[in-house]
């Protein structure tokens, strides 16, 4: 086997940068007020969710509009198990939430991931809608009234829980997709499925595995979110806006890249909260966000991350702008 490449200064710079970001995130709560801490907690959650959606949408190339279902499965599993009937502690509920989301992802992903493009998107959207309607009519989910969870009013706890979950998600995806055979399999099927099959890659299995992994991470954040907000209803944790934001964040940051979804998730959430706090509880933030997203799609088709890493960097942006005009 060929010898390992020597660690370059670029590698050291990258490692130092990541280390600095981790330390900054770890000490951040000591320097910000509780309102900003809530925004930071939300940013970590959305970065993790975008990372989860990116596994299927970015790496496997299957645009799912059904991920709100897995967020809801996580949220409802935690909420139901923490009701007085079961009385489970929060951390105990995480494993059943993840297992249930994987089971549902395998059952739904098996047949739907044989579809492609818009057909797969519509199938996953329909599945999420169906599940939301089901949760709305069932008694044990609280129906339209939703469920309340035991309140644990400790913003630091939720910040660090989200931080650990997001960091674990990114490290897991980085190891599994950027540094393993599974990563080659999933990227090969995205680029050319018949060619991947001709190399012995069992693409249907890889697709379901990626869907299940993505669902598990999404459900994990759904569980934490439910405990954090202390109240959930069908629309708040299973509504289409959950998936929509995940999709937009990944497109904004950089589809199929490791750091793009984190960048997109954090930037979009902070921008969202800033505009919302500036203009109040109106819908004015929606067109502003829409314009920002349209500009990025037009001039940076590979996402904001292409400004920081990649072959073209700023040159790509300038040439794209010049080409449009």
């Amino acid at each position: 086997m060929a010898s390992k490449p020597v660690q370059t200064p670029k590698f050291i710079v990258r490692a130092l940068l990541i280390g600095a970001i981790v330390i900054a995130l770890a000490v951040l709560p000591a320097f910000i007020d509780s309102y900003t801490l809530r925004i930071a907690t939300g940013a970590l959650m959305w970065a993790g969710l975008a990372c989860a959606w990116n596994i299927v949408g970015g790496y496997a190339g299957y645009i799912s509009f059904g991920h709100s279902a897995f967020f809801g499965i996580g949220a409802y599993t935690t909420a139901i198990l923490m009701q007085s009937d079961f009385g489970a502690s929060f951390f105990v509920t995480l494993l059943p939430a993840i297992i249930l989301s994987i089971a549902v992802a395998v059952v739904i992903g098996g047949p739907t991931m044989r579809l492609r493009g818009a057909y797969f998107a519509i199938a996953t959207w329909a599945f999420a809608e169906m599940l939301m309607q089901l949760v709305t009519v069932l008694d044990f989910t609280g129906g339209t009234a939703g469920l309340s969870l035991p309140a644990y009013l400790n913003e630091f706890f939720f910040y660090y829980t989200m931080l650990i979950a997001a960091a674990a998600s990114f490290v897991g995806v980085w190891l599994l997709i950027e540094h393993s055979r599974f990563g080659f399999r999933i990227k090969a099927l995205r680029d050319d499925e018949p060619a991947a099959e001709s190399l012995g890659i069992r693409t249907n299995l890889v697709k379901v595995q990626s869907f299940a992994l993505s669902a598990a991470i999404t459900a994990l954040f759904g569980s934490i979110y439910a405990y954090w907000t202390t109240y959930i209803d069908p629309h708040s944790v299973m509504g289409p806006q959950i998936t929509d934001q995940m999709v937009v964040m990944v497109l904004l940051g950089g589809l199929g890249t490791i750091w793009g979804p984190a960048l997109g998730g954090v930037l979009l959430w902070i921008t969202n909260r800033y505009i919302w706090s500036t203009f109040g509880d109106t819908v004015i933030y929606l067109p502003i966000l829409g314009v920002i997203i349209a500009l990025v799609v037009l001039f940076l088709p590979n996402g904001l991350i292409s400004l920081l890493v990649g072959r073209q960097r700023g040159k790509e942006l300038i040439s794209n702008i010049l080409r449009k005009f």
Partner: protein, 247 residues
């Protein structure tokens, strides 16, 4: 679907045997009862006019299509109707008429991706060998989209070398490439056949066919109309009729 257990591998069987295979698309018969076998280390050319069923025959052998009738055997194992990935793991590798590279990957990753279901421990060594044999070491870090058409053909050929195929199917692998690249591919085929790998080659380049193939099979309208060495085929009236419409 047949199972491998009911069709034990036998050393006496040819690497590839296609037996009376047929495929229909609606009312059109694309392949009509074709039988063909190839021995270890043999290079068999499959020629014929456009639409004669050559690529469909490849797809039937490699699993992209399921035959309506007939059998495909790899070293005696009945692989008829098996999914493509399973046939590939049993020992068939192929290239496509239009190179099917993984466009968001570098040349390096394209080659490594071909080894994920094989001997992963030796993947990097094999990659170095393939890069050297095909003279593409200088583009190893280029994206697939940054390559010329000829380089794309080389990388796709390199991908099949990354595995341990018993049979390689090449679909117009030298079509439209620079003469230097053509020579590199010919050299690679000659080198690999000495290791016992069997080749089935679809080609329109008669110079190449003459140079590399031990035997030719001529297809027309889904059937084999002639079979033999280059000289025999060149003088066959059925072949002239297939290509020129007259004898």
């Amino acid at each position: 679907m047949s199972s491998a257990s009911s069709n034990a591998k036998s050393p006496g069987h040819p690497p590839l045997a296609i037996e009376s295979v047929a495929k229909h698309f609606g009312g059109i018969t694309a392949v009509d009862g074709v039988s063909l076998s190839a021995d270890a280390g043999e290079v068999v050319g499959v020629i014929g006019p456009n639409g004669s069923g050559k690529s469909t025959l490849f797809n039937l052998a490699a699993g992209g299509l399921k035959p309506d009738a007939g059998k495909v055997r790899l070293q005696g194992i009945d692989v008829t109707g098996w999914p493509t990935w399973k046939i590939a793991r049993t020992g068939i590798s192929r290239t496509f008429q239009i190179p099917s590279l993984f466009i968001n990957m570098t040349v390096r990753d394209n080659l490594l991706a071909a080894a994920v279901e094989g001997d992963w421990q030796r993947a990097r060594d094999r990659m170095e060998d393939a890069l050297e044999m095909l003279e593409i070491s200088h583009v190893v870090d280029n994206l697939a989209t940054e390559l010329s058409g000829g380089q794309q053909k080389l990388v796709e050929f390199g991908r099949v070398c990354m595995r341990d195929p018993k049979v390689i199917l090449l679909d117009e692998v030298t079509a439209g490439v620079h003469p230097n690249i053509r020579q590199i591919i010919l050299g690679a085929i000659q080198r690999l056949r000495k290791t016992g790998i069997t080749f089935l080659v679809i080609e329109h380049d008669m110079e190449m066919v003459k140079e590399i193939c031990d035997r030719l099979v001529v297809m027309d309208q889904g059937k084999i109309v002639a079979e033999g060495d280059f000289e025999t085929i060149a003088n066959d009236t059925n072949v002239r009729k297939a290509y020129l419409g007259r004898t």
